[in-house]
Symmetry: C2
Subunit: 144 residues, 2 copies
């Protein structure tokens, strides 16, 4: 679909979070490998494997609500020839919410394909005790 | 410390879960890369980075309780030259508990080092809706 080429894994990651912020399903799926062996785990969700399951979950997420702002911090990169693993904290804010959410921790794995670097694994989970989680006095608890 | 060599990423993974089942801290840490850029996320925990933090968390976990049995299912492998990513379901049972726990989903990343394959990322999180969670008698069924 998309002719966009990501020369580095970091380029693919930037495009991933841009698509997430915009709620742009086609841009999101253009970041992923076209392989069937793709894996996506949303926070507190079950594992999704394969193009159809991954796409449908993003479609539902993007249909569901206001677009978040995502600031990436504390990145650790492990780089191979064909694969790169990035471990990051996702600091998510939503305009309609008074307080920043506690950070998510994400493991992102990228594959070098004939069409540039693409995402192959995204695994995100809440990091409840992480330092950036500020508790305001009397702040409501996070409900899922 | 350990002279054990893992010729494949799968060998490293097998040793990882064996060490976890035995609660063997030295065997566990011998599976990990000796690099400082190692990342471990335990279920519902914050991200741990570096040798000292990863080791201390395993030490506490192994000191804390009965050793679990872990059965790995639904593995997806993405293999590169220097890195491999394995996505698995961890089906954990503890002898003193009447029912199996719901599965964890884990992303394991392995690095090919001069001393064989080693773990570099372990990210585990609960997969509450996952298929392997068997419903006890009387539990509500999903009807279509």
């Amino acid at each position: 679909m998309s002719a966009r080429i990501f020369p580095t894994a970091q380029d693919a990651q930037n495009a991933f979070y841009e698509a997430l912020e915009r709620g742009d399903l086609e841009a999101m799926m253009a970041v992923w490998s076209e392989d069937e062996d793709i894996v996506c785990v949303h926070p507190a969700g079950q594992r999704l494997a394969g193009q159809a399951a991954v796409r449908e979950a993003w479609r539902q997420m993007f249909a569901g609500g206001p677009n978040p702002r995502v600031r990436i911090t504390q990145q650790v990169v492990i780089a191979g020839v064909m694969l790169e693993a990035h471990s990051v904290h996702e600091n998510i804010t939503v305009a309609s919410e008074a307080h920043p959410r506690p950070p998510m921790v994400a493991t992102n794995v990228y594959l070098r394909t004939a069409a540039g670097w693409r995402m192959i694994v995204h695994h995100a989970s809440p990091a409840p005790g992480a330092p950036a989680a500020e508790s305001a006095p009397g702040a409501p608890k996070i409900l899922h």
